[in-house]
């Protein structure tokens, strides 16, 4: 994979691992959680062009069969995202490994590392493997913020290269209704990473009707019992900031 599609880069983030970290949000996710606060990162843009009609600033144009985004004109009103039916964003940008490395390098003196979030970063495992090898030359660390829905056998090299994971545990038994996916294996993947001492933080989202919240909280707590250095952060779901479509799903 030559390129990665990036939804957003936050140069200094205080909530994506300990220390000051550059958070890179990739576009594309393999699940579709009903409470997702970044629902515009779920799908790739299908060039429907509806966003162009709702952009008052003319920051979006369609040229040569492609939507072009002009950040200088954007007022970040997010109309293009909020009105999208497709849980996507026209404001993404493609990067090669070298291009993204150069962006990270700019922030280097002030950051402890980078955290790839999303979307689901493991969808870009080959790209990230190359990026992480290069970023580590700067003497900083590379984290992955994952939903845990991946096939561990396909991820051996990336796990090896990743310094730490931030791990979302959505649910133990109700991933089908909560995350609208048939994928499984999150807890096993978490245990594997814990055994490798590669987990910094685990975060279940507590959402009453959909989630087997109590079971999830207790199961994960038992799993983490022997790992006192791992932060266990319970996230209470809230509707503030949810996109229109996600609210409808509720």
């Amino acid at each position: 994979m030559r390129d990665i599609i990036v939804n957003k880069i936050i140069p200094f983030s205080t909530v994506d691992g300990i220390g000051n970290r550059c958070a890179i949000f990739v576009q594309g996710c393999n699940v579709n959680c009903i409470y997702c606060h970044n629902s515009e990162t779920i799908n790739l843009c299908n060039e429907c062009r509806e966003c162009i009609e709702v952009c008052d600033q003319n920051a979006l144009t369609y040229l040569y069969n492609k939507i072009h985004y002009n950040e200088d004109k954007c007022t970040f009103c997010d109309n293009c995202i909020n009105l999208s039916k497709y849980q996507s964003s026209p404001k993404t940008k493609k990067y090669t490994v070298e291009e993204l490395f150069q962006v990270v390098k700019r922030y280097k003196p002030f950051i402890r590392g980078i955290t790839i979030s999303g979307g689901e970063p493991t969808l870009y495992k080959d790209f990230l493997l190359k990026l992480f090898k290069k970023v580590k030359e700067l003497g900083i660390t590379c984290y992955v913020d994952t939903n845990g829905f991946y096939n561990g056998e396909n991820l051996i090299d990336l796990i090896k290269e990743t310094d730490n994971f931030l791990f979302d545990i959505k649910s133990i038994h109700q991933t089908k209704s909560l995350c609208r996916t048939q994928l499984k294996g999150c807890l096993e993947n978490l245990v594997h990473l814990l055994n490798l001492n590669k987990v910094e933080e685990v975060r279940p989202v507590i959402i009453g009707d959909y989630d087997d919240s109590k079971n999830t909280v207790i199961t994960v707590a038992k799993t983490l019992k022997n790992y006192p250095d791992v932060t266990y952060k319970l996230i209470k779901v809230h509707t503030l900031g949810l996109k229109k479509r996600a609210n409808e799903a509720n």
């Binding site: 140069p11 205080t14 220390g19 000051n20 970290r21 003196p109 002030f110």
Partner: protein, 505 residues
């Protein structure tokens, strides 16, 4: 600037000053009643450049009878006590803290209050015997300072090493949330314990101090030193005789072209300022009796040999923006590489003039005066047109990483002090490591000093000193306030909107 008799009656009748503030103001007015041509032998040309506001003497006065900043070595008191005050060397923490409070009362400065009160953790630490009771004593000591040294330019240092006293001082800072004393942690990431640094970060966010100075860099440039007043780095056991400043924005406006500014006006005005510094020092050393009579000199708390003087600047941003605009460019200082080039050209011109000038009575700093990034004051309408130091004007601040990198390139010029302050939002409290990473990054880029506070805090760092917003609100309502710095803060906020710094999220 020269004062007149009317200033006296205005001060006497003022309804917003305490008795003490009136007393110090009247003393200052009397110093400025004297004719500077006679007493300091200022030339007409020098006076013209004070009156046209290109040079500012910060109202220091003309009959100079004490150095502007005194950096007393208080370890001398710990070793020997003080003969003049008839106090023996302290034997326990009570005698130490009591003795220091007495001593502070006799250390003058331009404000008449001490601008430096010691590396207090290293002074106190050997006397710690019981953490609980000593904590109460330290708290009482610091609270006493806040209520009697009613001027936030009063500055204590701590660090670079972690000590029990240092930890208790930070605990006290968090509890008292007082503006005074200003406190700086002399920080060296290789020496300062990380947990101690993180505790300091927490206090800095919640109580706006301690700030962080680059111990390694300052030690390399200055040797034994202290951080005093706002963020001035000055030689230990000495200080600075005087501080004058160039209003670069004002000088730029008066120049027809950049060529004229850089080749003629700026070197000329810089030279005039240096000449005035010479004359001020000569009067203080040769004609005032300070160094002959002060017990601080006689008992080796300070030595004349360790004094220097400061050549300050303000308004670098405004000078650069003036010349960018005159070239028809829409770019502004802070986000313009051409602007940075112009700024370096200006600073190199000033530095070259300052460094080629043989200073008087400044052996400690190799017979040179030291450049200083002065943080501003509200002494003339021209101060509206001169942003503090080399800072980017408030309201135009770029993203944090861009901002720090832009500012960092100018720190090398200002051996006697420069620094920046950033307002953070609450989320940083949940990740203190993130703030320390930013501080470490800034120091790696040879930042000399950096500080922060939470935007919603009542304690706000104005330019280098701390005030309570609530106190400044009282000044705005015409009420009497305890600290003169709250009055200064009102003027600075009117000019520079310091309460509206960009919040870093």
């Amino acid at each position: 600037m020269i004062s007149d008799k009317k200033d006296i009656i205005d001060i006497v009748k003022n309804k917003a000053l305490t008795y003490q503030q009136k007393l110090f103001n009247l003393a200052n007015i009397s110093e400025r009643l004297l004719e500077s041509r006679e007493i300091l032998r200022y030339t007409n040309e020098e006076i013209i450049h004070l009156e046209n506001h290109m040079i500012c003497d910060l109202n220091e006065g003309y009959a100079i009878y004490r150095p502007r900043y005194i950096v007393a070595d208080y370890s001398t008191f710990v070793k020997k006590g003080c003969k003049f005050l008839d106090i023996s060397a302290p034997k326990n923490i009570d005698e130490l803290l009591d003795g220091l409070l007495i001593l502070y009362n006799h250390v003058p400065s331009i404000t008449s209050f001490p601008v430096y009160i010691g590396n207090i953790d290293t002074l106190i630490d050997p006397f710690i015997t019981d953490e609980q009771t000593d904590y109460i004593k330290i708290k009482r000591f610091l609270n006493h300072i806040d209520k009697t040294i009613v001027d936030s330019f009063c500055h204590a240092n701590i660090g670079p090493n972690k000590t029990k006293a240092g930890e208790l001082i930070i605990k006290t800072i968090l509890e008292l949330k007082n503006p005074t004393p200003n406190i700086t942690l002399r920080y060296n990431s290789k020496v300062t314990d990380k947990d101690f640094a993180l505790t300091a970060v927490k206090a800095c966010l919640k109580a706006s101090k301690p700030s962080f100075s680059n111990e390694n860099l300052y030690h390399k440039d200055m040797g034994e030193h202290a951080i005093v007043s706002c963020y001035n780095a000055l030689p230990m056991s000495g200080g600075a005789y005087t501080l004058l400043r160039l209003r670069l924005g004002t000088i730029a406006k008066a120049s027809k072209t950049f060529k004229e500014f850089i080749e003629i006006t700026l070197p000329k005005v810089t030279k005039l300022m240096l000449n005035m510094i010479d004359k001020r020092i000569k009067f203080l050393v040769e004609e005032s009796s300070f160094f002959e009579t002060s017990f601080l000199v006689k008992e080796s708390f300070i030595s004349r040999d360790n004094f220097t003087a400061m050549a300050g600047i303000v308004g670098l941003a405004d000078a650069v923006n003036h010349f960018l605009a005159s070239e028809g460019k829409a770019e502004r200082f802070g986000l313009s590489s051409e602007g940075d080039e112009i700024a370096h050209h200006i600073m190199q011109t000033i530095a070259s003039n300052v460094n080629s000038h043989k200073g008087v009575y400044v052996e400690r700093t190799k017979e040179k005066y030291l450049l200083h990034a002065q943080v501003g004051a509200n002494l003339s309408d021209e101060d509206n047109y001169n942003t503090p130091a080399h800072r980017i004007p408030i309201g135009e601040e770029p993203d944090l990483h861009v901002h720090i990198k832009q500012a960092a390139q100018f720190h090398k010029y200002f051996v006697s002090g420069t620094g920046d302050l950033f307002a953070f939002d609450q989320t940083y409290l949940g990740n203190l490591d993130a703030v320390l990473d930013i501080i470490n990054g800034a120091m790696e880029m040879n930042y000399r000093y950096i500080t922060t506070y939470l935007q919603n805090s009542d304690l706000v760092r104005v330019t280098g000193y701390l005030v309570k917003r609530s106190e400044v609100n009282k000044v705005e309502r015409g009420e009497v306030v305890l600290r003169d710095t709250a009055i200064l803060a009102k003027g600075t906020n009117d000019n520079s909107k310091v309460f509206q710094r960009r919040i870093r999220k």
